[in-house]
Symmetry: C2
Subunit: 417 residues, 2 copies
Amino acid sequence: MTEERIESQARSVKAASRILYDCPTAKKNRLLRAVISRLRGGASAVLAANREDVENARRGGLSPVLLDRLTLSEHGIQQVIRGVRDVIGLPDPVGRILGRVKRPNGLRVEKMSVPLGALGIIYEARPNVTIDASVLCLKSGNTVLLRGGSEALRTNRILADLVRKALGDVDLPPGSVEFIDSTDRESVGMMLKQSTYLDVIIPRGSRQLIDYIRANSSVPVIAHGEGNCHVFVDSSADLREAEEIVYNAKVQRPSVCNAAEKLLVHEKIAAKFLPRIAQRLRDAGVELRCDHGARGFIPDAANASEADWSEEYLDLIIAIKTVRSLREAIDHINHYGSHHSDAIVTGSKANGESFLRSVDSAAVYVNASTRFTDGYEFGLGAEIGISTQKLHARGPMGLAELTSSKFIVHGTGQTRG
Amino acid sequence: MTEERIESQARSVKAASRILYDCPTAKKNRLLRAVISRLRGGASAVLAANREDVENARRGGLSPVLLDRLTLSEHGIQQVIRGVRDVIGLPDPVGRILGRVKRPNGLRVEKMSVPLGALGIIYEARPNVTIDASVLCLKSGNTVLLRGGSEALRTNRILADLVRKALGDVDLPPGSVEFIDSTDRESVGMMLKQSTYLDVIIPRGSRQLIDYIRANSSVPVIAHGEGNCHVFVDSSADLREAEEIVYNAKVQRPSVCNAAEKLLVHEKIAAKFLPRIAQRLRDAGVELRCDHGARGFIPDAANASEADWSEEYLDLIIAIKTVRSLREAIDHINHYGSHHSDAIVTGSKANGESFLRSVDSAAVYVNASTRFTDGYEFGLGAEIGISTQKLHARGPMGLAELTSSKFIVHGTGQTRG
């Protein structure tokens, strides 16, 4: 994969972005219907390619969790198609008036949503992202250069090709979606240099990947990084409710970024709460790593190290710490957390509001599981991912977060004095 | 200026940002009143330092335009104070509910504005920015590491010190505002490495500076770059109105980023319009650089080179080109422009709307001068600068653009199934 090839693909999505920029809603929806037709027609080819990818990955020793993510079944393709149909039903995020003001000099100043332009998306194992991300980009008037995970290369190649054919079907430039057909690690580095053509890069991945991209990209980045999420059980918490929330946040799907990795417990209720939650978590196979305070009530637990407080396990492991106050819990979360999703379980309205106000995370919860941080669960209707940065978009990103804006000004000959 | 010193300043603004994050509005306004008191008390010291800076710059051969920007008069300090008073009167941009939804499972999901955190601002000659930027950052709950232009070092040093004293006056951490007391070019490079502490860097400056920062910053950037702004005079334009708009956009203040640098004229009215606007601009001392078509009507004008179409002159120069259609004008602007501010003068409502929709710039105008691109003129009540990027904020940035958001979720024990 030469740099020239990637530059030419970036140039292609940039050129196509000029066409998509003011493409009417009806035409964009016609395109998405063509994507559905192409997916139906190409399903068997997609499944065959995916079987090869899975077989290859299995021989390469990929873990069962990742093999599961990689696998696309007939049912999986139906789900992808349903997802595309959902996006057809969503309102066009482009051309909305976000604010307006009439100035004393008669100028009418409006702020209107517009596409971001040409995007680069870097993602990992799951091949359905190739369709999901393309469709969300196209519906929001953007074009996209895709760089998927190496294990899914064959599947992704065919899926991207189906989308390009659908673009041709409705007389839109196939170059609106370009796929980097390479598992070369250097291809990521080459994408980061395409600031002449790409407006934004959206990387999903580990902290190491995100840090590398941040340090090396001349293209603006919307990072989708890790979640070191906390549940804090306050002294006034309903302990039965707290038990359900902690259990759900840790155990229901430990491999995702909104799963809880840390449990903070107010020392006043530690004696009552810790033994029962410890038992419940252990019964589900969770490894417990405790600070000195928590070990007082779970004596046979392992010691948590300093590094544990910053780590995202994505596994059946939880670190547990007792705190003396709400403030200590808030400070701990703001210091060690990854500012993704954090929850308090409390019976005190005042403490709940304090926590919501002072914890600086993309999503903060009172009396609910952190697992709800998700575009669908938050009512956005779709999700391109979960931004872990503060600029542009924070938390679950839907179609609206794939737009920028411009000021449009109607005058009657005004000049500045 | 060692790297350790800048890292320690970045750490200081980060630590202070935790305090400012949930600082009540009343306290932030008390701080701004203290800034006014300190400015009054310190005015003579500021003026004395500024006289030294100006004298020094004059000896160094700084151009009259830049000397003018550098100079701070007693009247100038009064204006700065009036600006602070205006910001006191603006609503707190933090804690606003930007959207809310009740989910079928009973979760109440709200999106709330929050401070961005610890900012880095890189700016040039005008010393009033030291106060303006500090005050806007503090009102929006942010802290800031400032790096001003070398010519204004003495003035900036004293101004930053006054703000730090005002912070102390109201028991807020003086480290909320740190000033890089160095004209060392390397200090900019050092700021760009502080991604552990800085949440955002806002650079104002030339394309070269912005490109350098984009390529080297591991901190997310909101760039304030150049303006290669266009006025397109359509075939149906009121030519008297067009003349006033072109004249105002080019001549009223040629050194600023929203001044027009290019004039596109529909070939149908070129014979009528070009000779008269050429005369008017030349009378104001404007140098004309024309393409082949425009030279047909302004025979003694210089030839425009290919480079002219991309250039920001910031001076009494304009390049002029005839076009055959609205579409040619739009394509030219999208291709060569800097996506800052562009205007059409037209009598056709349809052409006006087409232009507004298809020109991909931060501000697009129908029948008004590009010179209005400004936070005050757009009714934002304040302005930290004009973003020329698509991510996070585009066009004039006020207090709201200095915030991020978070999702706050009220539950009653919900867990995910």
